[in-house]
Symmetry: C2
Subunit: 430 residues, 2 copies
């Protein structure tokens, strides 16, 4: 914790001080937006976006390369800069935006030309995502899904040892707000019969959190668990859209492929790991790791603060409804594996992570019935449809359905922060 987390700190951008808002001065998430000539990096503050281009005069004295990175068209150069650069930039921005700074009038005057109404800004993908890896870190998700398909043996023997993950498709990661076309694919009809090639009839969302890698590692050089947290830059919301019927037919023996690769949506604002620091939780507030993790995945510090108390909500709006209504909620702290363990495991064979790589948590579910992070779980693979406020029922998503994810952190004595939203509407596949 440092002064940037101080609950008494308020911003002269008055919308940032509204209780319950996602983007108070304690948050300062980064994103990329469409600017006149070329994409620009911005931070969210209240209902405004502060563009960082041409701010060199205000950002002097930061670690080498930081100002140049703020002038880039993606966050990758800043991500590569490392925690000292990220932290110094955050401290400076917090100072520039705080209401009680001795030079507040100067700051207001200097920043005024760089402030834009968020509602009028078009956001873009925040980084070039070289590698997208999706994990399976929720034991409750793994157990519930396992129970559907292997009732006698829901959790596989490797689950509590291996942070299970697979490589996803980076090219089809799109920004929140992009319409998602219902994919066509091979769907098994009758046992032993030929499959059909048709639009998916079992389209699902999966609520996840995406961890952006900041600094990478060299090929062949693993990342020790003690250093893993410092390689992560920040988080976003992630919708790992999945066609369950395509998945069921294609996934043996090499895992999910076209059932996932048609689209993955992410929210535009990356909330930094430093902003999340007040909301870290220890092992007592997470599922017990039993048996103890193997030595390469075990560190006292990670046990003490490896979890993140981040509340997640899924809202659904059918074409007939005016507003999205919440259909489930869960918490990131319910993951079995910590984000540091995901990083260390990923690099443990020498695989090189790179700035801008995205690590998905996997569907975030919890033990409670309301904490089921996808329709596969919520509807028991479609057998028990959920009822919407409109009276409609959903086994899986229908055309026109909008899925909205929200995420936020709260803690007594601290100002809550939010991840904003990740939205996507399903459109017909014909």
């Amino acid at each position: 914790m440092n002064a940037t987390h101080d609950a008494r700190r308020q911003s002269w951008v008055v919308s940032a001080n509204r209780p319950g808002g996602a983007f108070p001065i304690q948050n300062l998430p980064l994103g990329v937006f469409e600017a006149a000539k070329r994409p620009a990096i911005g931070i969210a503050i209240g209902d405004q976006v502060l563009g960082l281009r041409n701010c060199a005069g205000l950002l002097g004295g930061l670690p080498a390369g930081t100002v140049e990175a703020c002038d880039a068209t993606t966050l990758n150069p800043l991500m590569a800069g490392g925690p000292e650069s990220w932290s110094a930039l955050r401290a400076r921005l917090s100072d520039l935006l705080r209401a009680d700074h001795p030079r507040v009038a100067d700051h207001q005057r200097a920043l005024a030309p760089h402030l834009l109404a968020m509602a009028e800004v078009t956001m873009l993908k925040p980084a070039v995502i070289g590698g997208f890896t999706d994990f399976y870190a929720s034991i409750d998700h793994a157990t519930r899904v396992g129970r559907l398909f292997r009732p006698e043996n829901p959790l596989l023997p490797n689950y509590k040892y291996v942070p299970i993950g697979y490589h996803g498709r980076a090219s089809s990661i799109v920004l929140s707000g992009s319409a998602v076309r219902r994919p066509r694919g091979q769907i098994a009809s009758s046992p032993g019969g030929a499959p059909q090639f048709a639009p998916s009839r079992a389209l699902d969302y999966e609520i996840e959190v995406g961890f952006f890698v900041g600094t990478g590692n060299r090929w062949g050089e693993p990342i020790a668990i003690e250093h893993a947290a410092s390689h992560l830059f920040g988080v976003c919301l992630l919708n790992d859209w999945t066609a369950r019927d395509i998945q069921a037919w294609e996934y043996q023996p090499l895992g999910p492929f076209l059932a996932k690769s048609f689209a993955t949506s992410i929210s535009p604002w990356i909330v930094t790991m430093e902003a999340l620091a007040p909301f870290r939780v220890g092992a007592s507030l997470r599922p017990a790791q039993d048996p103890a993790p193997l030595a390469y995945l075990a560190s006292e510090q990670d046990q003490a603060e490896g979890g993140i108390d981040l509340r997640l909500e899924v809202h659904l709006r059918s074409a007939r409804m005016d507003e999205a209504v919440r259909i489930s909620r869960c918490n990131l702290r319910q993951l079995y594996w910590t984000s540091a363990q995901l990083v260390t495991h990923h690099a443990s064979n020498g695989c090189n992570l790179q700035p801008g790589d995205l690590l998905g948590s996997g569907t975030v579910s919890g033990r409670e019935d309301e904490a089921r992070g996808c329709l596969l779980e919520l509807t028991q693979n479609g057998r028990e449809p959920v009822s919407l406020a409109s009276g409609e029922k959903r086994a899986f998503l229908e055309d026109g359905d909008e899925v909205v994810f929200r995420g936020y952190c709260e803690r007594d004595g601290f100002v809550g922060i939010g991840l904003g939203e990740c939205r996507g509407t399903v459109v017909g596949g014909e």
Copy 2:
């Protein structure tokens, strides 16, 4: 076929006319090499590399963007240019290099400053590989591996309908010649017991061919099978190094991950699809597709010429041996799925392919015993070690072993062409 395939055509680069050489004037593969200021694009001709930088004067009149693409530091811009650009460049280079051109003396004088001895050139990765997808297109490989683990049911019911594939890790693709460190990972010791984290004891190679995507498709827009072949730029040799013991423990339920992501080696020269045209083969020389492929994967032209008669060899040299000795050979035409079918399937859900994406064939095996493309098959998962010329035995790879892949095409009436080599030596993991 066109004049660039004419068997009578010879080059004034005399080493290109040596019978049996990999790089005659009928080949003209592209790569990227280390040049003075920044990486440069080159083509292989005999034992020389022709650098294409600053050749604008010789490459005038080509389709828009072609000359600029030849000045880039990777092949991606040229790949994005499309078949007309590729074909026009090939025709021009063939003219510039042929011995019987009316202006041969001018060409020799103009190109002399751009010719370098291949032995003195350092090759680099030819393209930025945004997405790496590895398929499983050899039915003989799938059947033999299936038989090892599911004797009663070797080939899964989806195999003859779905071109099975999974997303691989692009960041750890390295160039031929890079030493490959034996990965550490979780290895199951006794059933029900805790796994060990240790260097792999079952390190394997897989001989594959990599297909580079040229022009991509827009997100949400599939590629019809009739157009799929025109999206492919060329091929390389690919070693999909695999740690079998790590794979066995981690791969359920989401497929291979760390067992593969530590390293994938590719050969430096990309042989274009146009150079391969004389060696295309029809359905009668490939495994029968029975049942018939679903409509989206079926085209008469693909049935008539979808295969490639490309001979592949695996050579192994232990630290005690002076020369690598061949341990298996196979042929790309033995794949069940054609490269066009892989492209169309990949994009069938709307997934966007991009210039420079790499599609691995999966291990290329054949029906014959000598056509087993990995040690898992050759040694029956280590139970029947192979004997080397040195008297040593190999269940799996040992430190110091060098694996060498070679690939070449031959056909009566045509000049044979080669892919060159893909080499890698295993080094200890400690």
